[in-house]
Amino acid sequence: MFQPSNLAAFLPGLLSISLSMSLSMSLSTSVFADESNNTTSAYADPKSLSYSSYTLKQSAWTPSQYVGDLKDVVEFAGATAHVVEFRSPQNKALSVDVGAALRSNDDGDTEIESLLGAIEAGGIFFRIETSSSPGYINPEDGQSRFDKRYVIGERGFDASYTQINIGKSFDHMPSARWGVGYIEATQPAEIDLYTTGSTSYPDVLIDPEYQHQLLGIWIDFDNLQAAMHDDDGFALSMNRRGALRYGWGLTMDILFGLQASKSNQDLEKIVKDNYGLDLKYEDPMGIGWSLTYRLEYILAYRRPDSNVGLSFGIEGRAFQGLHSDDIFGSDDSVDNANEALGRLGIGDNSIFQYGPFVRLAWEI
């Protein structure tokens, strides 16, 4: 489980190291020279600049952003998130990228929601992002208890999201990267319970911390940086007026591959102890995809030795999967009154998050 307090202990150290590297590099201005034409660009090589950004957004984990079959019983505290990111110049053998998101809820409490870290060496890029948020499972509005639902264990839970990417930039589109990605997401899920119905049994079991794992091909586009560098972007339409750039863009992070989901609960024992039934259940596998998008309006201002960018819009994440039973059907059956069958519902392995954001970035 994500432990913000443990990882947060390393953050000040990482930030201080990166800041020192950035300051030492920003004291001198490097100029990119085209040896073939023997001409000099009016702008500094973006890779020689350090990059910093601050983003204000609606927190990734809020009740209104949790979409699925459990929306009526799952609760998170409403919150806003403050995200800071720093990257050292990329024209060195080793470049470091660190960031953190601080989540402030309605009660005024602040906690670290996510940590982002990346290292690029020898052209290979490594990035890890984590986020988490506590939540609670309550009966539906106006109800004093759950109706035909059994919550396994505690009603309080910790939802978490971790993404790891390894890859490299495209040669002709530096703001785009591709490689291999891995996502691990933990959140409540409903397991449909099939029984003969001769006795009153619940219809679903709720596992507050059900786990999904996705491994596959990853591709990523950052249009704000592309706009700040006059680079090609993805779905990016920029206009120029002197040093000012402005226009719309669709920044995206896509991962597609194999998905495996599982419950960390002993479901067979739980159903046996609670209802005396022999449970048939298998952790599902199939295909999955993750799409993180940012539909944004971008303003960028280029100077010879620095760049400033501002973007605002809507960002969100869709994490979905199709398990083999959903695609090919199932031969499972409940053959007598002593048996039960558990299956993850098709809508219970999804994560949908969206909300407004504002991002300010600068390179010096």
Partner: protein
């Protein structure tokens, strides 16, 4: 054109065949599994609480006893306060109250051997639609494996 139609028909057949995602469930009128009357260490094997008072013993080998309330103790039209009390001698023991869906709704978990008490507002109207009217479960347990002779008392006020 004909091969294309055949391929499309085959693809559609495969797709439709994969759309039957629901398991086959036998329509059975049999009553289901039978609880083990020799033990009350799980929800399923819980002893029926047919009287207002019951006694038992917890130990390191028997850390939990489960009880379920029978409908004779409940009036589905009753709305009022019910009190569950655990008294006894020996070590630490706790009580927890569960609804008919086996979800925890209240508890008393003092850390010493003091008396435990749950006061719960029971609404018969909320349970009147259920197949087993008024079904609640009470768990008596010892978190430390202490030996304790207890008396569980259940009353409506």
């Amino acid at each position: 054109m004909k091969p294309f139609i055949a391929l499309s028909a085959l693809s559609l057949t495969v797709l439709l065949g994969g759309c039957d995602n629901y398991p086959d469930v036998v329509d059975s009128n049999s009553p289901g599994p039978t609880p083990d009357s020799e033990t009350n260490d799980t929800f399923f094997n819980a002893d029926s609480l047919d009287a207002n008072t019951v006694s038992g013993t917890l130990s390191n080998d028997n850390v939990s006893d489960y009880y379920k309330t029978s409908s004779s103790l409940f009036n589905e039209r009753f709305n009022g306060q019910m009190t569950i009390t655990l008294t006894g001698t020996g070590g630490n023991a706790d009580i927890e109250l569960f609804d008919s869906n086996l979800n925890l709704i209240s508890w008393s978990r003092t850390e010493d051997s003091s008396e435990e008490e749950i006061i719960y507002w029971y609404s018969g109207a909320a349970d009147s639609h259920r197949d087993v009217d008024g079904q609640h479960y009470i768990l008596v347990s010892t978190p430390n494996g202490d030996t304790s002779d207890y008396t569980l008392t259940f009353t409506f006020n």
